[in-house]
């Protein structure tokens, strides 16, 4: 909030990272997941916040929601009452016994009303099982003055005793509409010109990950005058979906030479990495009207190429072999 006001007038906006600048100031600004937000609002309104656990993939609003809760409860002072720890950086038992306990047992004289302070443990599934065990009793002991919000990719990676102490919410990947809306909003705030296909490209490249969409938008806005399709695909090293589809269709029709020419263009001229191309074929695998089993075989073969490239094989040869094999389907 205060930051946004400080820099908003400078237009530029280039001085600040947008994913931080546009972090929601309150629960109303969190995009997508209305059910979840409504339930959390009612906790906050009744001043009756339980421990929370947010499960879901990256960029779906877990951190944004946690920060929003703190802002709703504390307003401007939220940062003093909010401890964010990334468990994948500090994942041992000592973190729980020292940092977390210290924060939880500190008596904040300046605390607003009787509100508990909030500890946000990002990537809690990276905590070792020992650290998780140590955490569970801490959660109860300090429940009169502290709430924990745990985020993780899969709640099943968290030990049962902790799950049983939390209200669990699952954040699914954001709908394209939600990403579109937020991209347009930020572009308008920042006074950026954009084309419609530019927005579509951002949404496609982000694939449900808001952080990726906003980062790409900011990067693209620095590149040129208007944010258009071409800039976005370049900045996100993404091929146009049509290009990928054309390449695969050629291969399926038995025209390997044409398919390989398109692959060459993507890798050599456009500088895409083999892994990026694999990701994109993986996303569009269902659009080629293959038999179901053939489609799954394609996915598995993509994986095979992916695995080999990761372990040091030549990406061009692996992808060529993949394209050649498609003629058999």
């Amino acid at each position: 909030m205060s930051e946004a006001e400080a820099t908003g007038d400078d237009a530029g906006g280039r001085k600040q990272v947008w994913i931080e600048k546009y972090r929601p100031d309150g629960l109303d600004e969190v995009v997508g997941h209305e059910d979840i937000i409504n339930r959390i609002k009612s906790y906050v309104n009744k001043q009756d916040l339980p421990h929370l656990m947010f499960a879901g993939p990256a960029g779906t609003g877990k951190t944004a929601t946690a920060v929003s809760i703190a802002k709703e409860v504390y307003g401007d002072d939220w940062q003093e009452n909010f401890l964010e720890l990334n468990a994948s950086d500090q994942r041992g038992i000592d973190v729980v016994r020292q940092q977390i306990k210290n924060f939880a047992s500190t008596d904040w004289s300046g605390r607003k009303g009787n509100n508990p302070s909030i500890i946000f443990l990002d990537e809690a599934d990276a905590l070792t099982p020992d650290a998780q065990s140590a955490l569970r009793r801490t959660m109860e002991q300090f429940s009169n003055n502290t709430r924990f919000i745990l985020s993780c990719n899969y709640s099943s990676q968290i030990i049962d005793p902790i799950q049983s102490r939390c209200a669990v919410f699952r954040f699914s990947p954001l709908a394209d509409e939600a990403v579109t809306e937020q991209v347009r909003f930020i572009a308008a705030e920042e006074g950026i010109e954009y084309t419609e296909d530019g927005v579509d490209a951002l949404v496609y490249a982000a694939d449900g990950d808001m952080r990726k969409a906003i980062n790409a938008l900011q990067a693209a806005s620095v590149m040129g005058d208007a944010v258009d399709e071409e800039t976005v695909y370049a900045i996100t090293s993404t091929a146009r979906p049509e290009e990928v589809e054309a390449m695969v269709t050629d291969a399926l029709n038995g025209d390997f030479v044409a398919a390989r020419a398109k692959l060459d263009e993507l890798i050599t001229e456009r500088g895409l990495a083999g892994g990026d191309i694999i990701d994109q074929i993986h996303r569009s695998a269902w659009e080629f009207e293959l038999e179901e089993q053939a489609a799954v075989r394609l996915l598995d073969r993509l994986g095979e190429a992916d695995y080999r490239i990761t372990t040091g094989a030549n990406e061009r040869i692996q992808l060529e072999a993949l394209l050649a094999s498609l003629a058999l389907e």
Binding site: D35, N38, R39, S42, Y43, D48, L49, P50, H51, A55, G92, I93, D94, V96, R97, K101, N114, N115, P116, D130, S133, A134, L135, R136, R137, T138, E140, Q141, S143, N144, Y154, S155, S156, Q157, D160, P161, Q163, S164, R165, C166, A167, V168, F169, R170, S172, H282, W286, E291, E292, Q293, A295, V296, L299, D300, L302, G303, D306, Y307, T310, T311
Partner: protein, 499 residues
């Protein structure tokens, strides 16, 4: 501003629900503590009320609580200080100066950070001059000596029948209207975990003026796609693509998904489609192996592709109707066998100590023969001697012989072994032992020698007969000798089968 699980934590033991037997045992333990001065181990699943019961007990007894849990550092030194402080408090303290020492998560000492903690606890437990309660999820994760030094009190999962009244009480106190079925639904969905049930109730009450069954059901739904719905999607109706998208909404790792699908797909698929489905499942497993080997979790998606889309794509026939899907039986087997494995290892340890060889040897090369030789406690005399020599308790004897632990037969054998051992000590008569000791050595010889299976079997046979022949002749038990010899034949043929 309260978390209901804290707000409605019982303040006295009489409010502890769903575990009457354990609750009474705990109270009795506390009231008679001056007589026995044992520590207690309270164990059971998460959320069944163990910690609540300990604190409620302290409250009832008027004992202040000193607690040490996994959020504290728990090296040997820390624990010594903890126990020391407790006894100091006693001397400074008021009237009777009693204090309840609570060690939470006693099954969970950290290897490095809590170096020596587990051993120190065992020492403290034996010496403590204050009542002490250890709380644990897994009884058998604690050391043998610690378990033996304490009184065991087990908290079972709280039944639906006991959860519902607790929820009803809270609703009344919070002024929430409810349908009975709604509470019932919450209770049955949390399967034995009272704390989760209270959490769920609170979450639902936040959103609804009046709780109805529909709220509960939909409340669960919008949280995550249930695993059973997902199995239906994959195995029965959805296209490969749809099944894959459905998998994104299931909150399970690909490893778990694979186990679920693998265990349930044979209930519907047959022949060619089953073979195809297993082809995809095997591919998925290969991906999981690669994830483990490389620690690169981006390969997880290929496992999911195979499990969800692959198995759905393999479907060739219509599978209408309803199928009873269940959790992977492999899990329940693992779970069940955990106690069994611990018991087995405990017996192996006793045998190994006596025989002077490794636990592995005792387990693989002695226990199977003992089991055959004393099957269903026949012959009795041999079973008694085995019980004596290895100092087995009733549960051990039951494990080896396959007879029920509480049967008169097993109880009788354990008692007799105890009496005879006492007598043997008094008379210092090596005779009783001498008879068995060589047999023991024979076993060792057979195993150490790595002899061919035939040789081992011969040695074991030999063993059985000689041991049998011996005691029947010189011990004062003439009558059962004959029938017992016949039984031995049974035992031996069984042994041959086994080999």
């Amino acid at each position: 501003m309260a978390d209901w699980t804290e707000k409605y934590r019982p303040s006295t033991l009489s409010e502890v629900r769903g575990n009457d037997k354990a609750r009474d045992a705990l109270r009795k333990w506390a009231e008679t503590w001056d007589d026995h001065r044992e520590a207690a181990i309270v164990h059971g699943s998460p959320g069944v009320g163990k910690t609540s019961a300990a604190h409620a007990l302290a409250n009832d007894m008027g004992w202040p609580v000193m607690e040490l849990n996994a959020s504290d550092s728990r090296t040997a030194e820390d624990i010594e200080r903890f126990a020391g402080r407790a006894s100091k408090n006693q001397t400074l303290g008021g009237t009777d100066g009693r204090q309840l020492l609570v060690v939470d998560e006693a099954d969970n000492f950290h290897g490095n950070s809590d170096y020596g903690g587990s051993r120190e606890i065992t020492k403290v437990v034996k010496e403590a001059d204050q009542p002490m309660v250890l709380i644990a999820n897994e009884f058998y994760d604690m050391s043998n000596s610690l378990r033996n030094a304490c009184r065991e009190i087990e908290f079972r999962d709280v039944s639906r029948r006991s959860i519902v009244p607790v929820l009803r009480d809270i609703c009344r106190q919070e002024g929430i209207e409810y349908e009975d079925d709604a509470l019932d639904e919450i209770a049955s969905e949390t399967s034995g975990d009272l704390r989760s049930a209270v959490n769920d109730l609170q979450a639902l009450a936040e959103r609804n003026q009046r709780l109805t069954v529909d709220d509960v059901v939909t409340g669960e739904r919008d949280r995550t796609e249930g695993i059973f719905d997902f199995l239906d999607d994959v195995i029965k109706h959805k296209s490969a693509e749809e099944a894959l998208y459905a998998s994104y909404d299931v909150d399970e790792t690909p490893d778990d998904l694979l186990n679920w699908v693998e265990d349930n797909v044979p209930k519907d698929y047959r022949g060619d489609e089953l073979a195809d489905a297993y082809g995809f499942l095997a591919n998925a497993d290969r991906w999981l192996g690669r994830v483990r080997a490389t620690q690169d979790y981006s390969f997880w998606r290929y496992a999911t592709d195979n499990v969800a889309a692959g198995v759905a794509a393999a479907r060739r026939h219509d599978h209408g109707g309803w199928t009873r899907y269940g959790p992977p039986s492999y899990w329940s087997k693992l779970g069940r066998s955990k106690a069994t494995r611990n018991r087995r290892d405990a017996i192996a340890r006793k045998i190994a100590e006596k025989g002077g060889f490794s636990m592995g040897t005792a387990r693989r090369e002695v226990m199977p023969f003992l089991a055959e030789m004393t099957h269903h406690c026949k012959p009795r005399e041999l079973t008694v001697r085995m019980t004596m020599v290895y100092d087995l308790d009733a549960a051990d004897v039951s494990f080896v012989t396959g007879s029920g632990e509480d049967t008169n037969k097993v109880q009788g054998i354990v008692e007799e072994a105890q009496e005879r051992r006492d007598d043997a000590v008094v008379e210092n008569a090596g005779g009783a032992f001498a008879q068995f000791e060589p047999a023991d050595d024979d076993d060792t010889a057979a195993t150490d020698g790595e002899s061919a299976a035939e040789g081992e079997s011969a040695a074991a046979d030999d063993d059985g007969q000689r041991t049998l022949g011996g005691p029947a002749a010189d011990a004062d038990e003439p009558s059962p000798a004959d029938p017992e010899t016949e039984e031995t034949d049974d035992g031996q043929s069984g042994l041959d089968d086994w080999l």
